[in-house]
Amino acid sequence: MNIRILGGCLRVFSWGAVLLLTGSVLVLLGYLLVKGVPSLGRELIFGQVDVLDAVLLRKRVFDGLFPAIAGTLSVVLLSVGLAIPVGVCAGIYMSEFATVLQQRVFGLMFDILAGIPSIVIGLFGFSGAIFIHKYVSNDFRPCLAVSVVALAFLVLPYITRTTQASMQGLSIQTRQAALALGATRVQNIFYVLLPQSFSGILSGIILAIGRCAEDTAVIMLTGVVATAGIPGSLLGSYEALPFYIYYISSQYTDATELMSGYGAAIILLVVCAVLFVLAFIIKRRLAGPAGPVAGEFHG
């Protein structure tokens, strides 16, 4: 009898929780879309400048999001490009060579690094910039290069962990076939293990891209500014989409600026959603559900 009442309560409670959670997120995102969609358009990104002129850098865009988008794009590409080789190599080592002790110690360090709040990573980049300013060159200030390095620190553990996990997830048959045919360990890694775990690594990289694109706390301490134009040099300031959203929310002066904030938020949300779906599909499609695909190889 008691369990029946309890069960009923639990059922109501769980439905309520699901409706409240999904409902509030949908209301938030719906509000964003309803308010922001009218602002979407060519003008939002390029202002009064012709699209071709802007993309070919012939004219500077002053009243559009183009510089912020270009800034985000360059900071993301550079930092993920920096983190991928180191992260993948570290993941290979963790999966294929590390002793039990190394796995424990390095694993703990990766977990700590992964958990450091992004503002603290930003503070680290900021203090690095002060250090260089003091001891190396007086002209050095927080800039694109500092953000790139700090963001690379932020996503490094993700890439390492996904590489390690997807390589360790390979079946023993896959691992040993090439070795049995006389391949060396390194050949086995490059010709068999890496290609086989490619989809897992790729989806990890895409999630890392999303993490870089949305992060605001790291870049706000390491060189992002409200107006800088297209990033021209690694040592210069730059604009970025998430920082623009933050900046507009407190500094907007008229309705048009506020609307461009909504527009920027929609663009950032869509970019993150697309990256997320992409990572999901790659993981599903290329890896497939573990059972049947593994069966195909043996059949």
Partner: protein, 286 residues
């Protein structure tokens, strides 16, 4: 030749792994060196509990510590029932098809940028709080920030809770089914008692996520530097305090204090990571 390649490749892999591991130590080292003038005199712990009043030369960050504690605990209070209910739904109380959709939705939520939560907080949530509670002033308060944060930490908690649910031995569930248990009985008698390490892990990870987030508190908690007296008070978190640094004078104590904030966040996070790893080992992982 191949021997050389073998050795080189192995060394490159090792250097990458060691360098990545050292990165965590490097961050700690920088914070320590820059915050040293405050920490050196053994003042670090008294700073945590001292008020902030630069005019009188006091740079304790009690207000920020309290702000972080209040906002992150309150967000867990909101997020815990939401997450537990959602996981129970996915664990058999709800229809399977909706559960699968819900699983995708929760994973999607992890990708929503926190600056967007902050932005919508300013223009949607804060006005509502301001209208509902007249004593909330501008509406930028602990309540607003923790409501928004609860949406940010829920997916983290749900994923770890679900992990805990899935780690319950399948044979126990089958045995309960064979004895004629329905989905509610299975949940209450078999799954929930077995899933507690996952639930504790989820709460710790959620707390870490809430403490480490900057943008939501920065944008909608109001950032006033005083020890908050109620959840309708404005407050500043450790993370916002770092974000609001005005880097005019690198030598000032006010500036050095942000490194003490950073160290505090770093150490709390490291403790959480160690606790979670302990729990994982207890469960037979790691």
């Amino acid at each position: 030749m191949t021997r050389v390649t073998q050795q080189t490749a192995r060394i490159v892999f090792f250097i990458s792994a060691a360098a990545s591991a050292m990165a965590a130590a490097l961050v700690f080292g920088f914070l320590l060196v820059f915050g040293f003038p405050l920490i050196g005199g053994g003042e670090f712990f008294s700073l945590l509990a001292r008020p902030w009043s630069p005019g009188q030369g006091l740079y304790g960050f009690l207000p920020m510590t309290m702000g972080t504690a209040a906002i992150s605990f309150l967000s867990i209070v909101f997020a815990f029932p939401l997450s537990l209910g959602t996981v129970c739904f996915m664990g058999g109380l709800g229809p399977a098809r909706i559960s699968r959709l819900l699983d995708g939705f929760v994973r999607f939520m992890t990708g929503i940028p926190t600056v967007i939560y902050g932005f919508l907080g300013i223009f949607l949530l804060v006005p509502v709080v301001r209208t509902l509670f007249t004593s909330a002033g501008s509406g930028m308060c602990i309540l607003s920030a923790s409501l928004m944060l609860s949406l940010l930490v829920s997916p983290t908690m749900i994923i770890f809770f679900k992990d805990g649910f899935d780690s319950v031995d399948f044979r126990y569930i089958r045995a309960a089914d064979a004895l004629g248990a329905d989905s509610v009985q299975r949940l209450i008698y078999v799954i929930l008692p077995g899933a507690w390490p996952g639930i504790v892990t989820g709460v710790i990870m959620g707390l870490g996520r809430a403490m480490g987030d900057t943008l939501i508190a920065l944008m909608i908690a109001g950032n006033a530097v005083h020890v908050p007296g109620s959840i309708l008070d404005s407050a500043r978190t450790l993370t916002s305090h770092i974000a609001l640094v005005s880097a005019s004078d690198y030598e000032s104590l006010a500036f050095k204090s942000i490194f003490a904030c950073g160290l505090t966040l770093y150490v709390l996070n490291a403790l959480a990571v160690i606790a979670v790893r302990r729990l994982g080992r207890k469960r037979g992982q790691v």
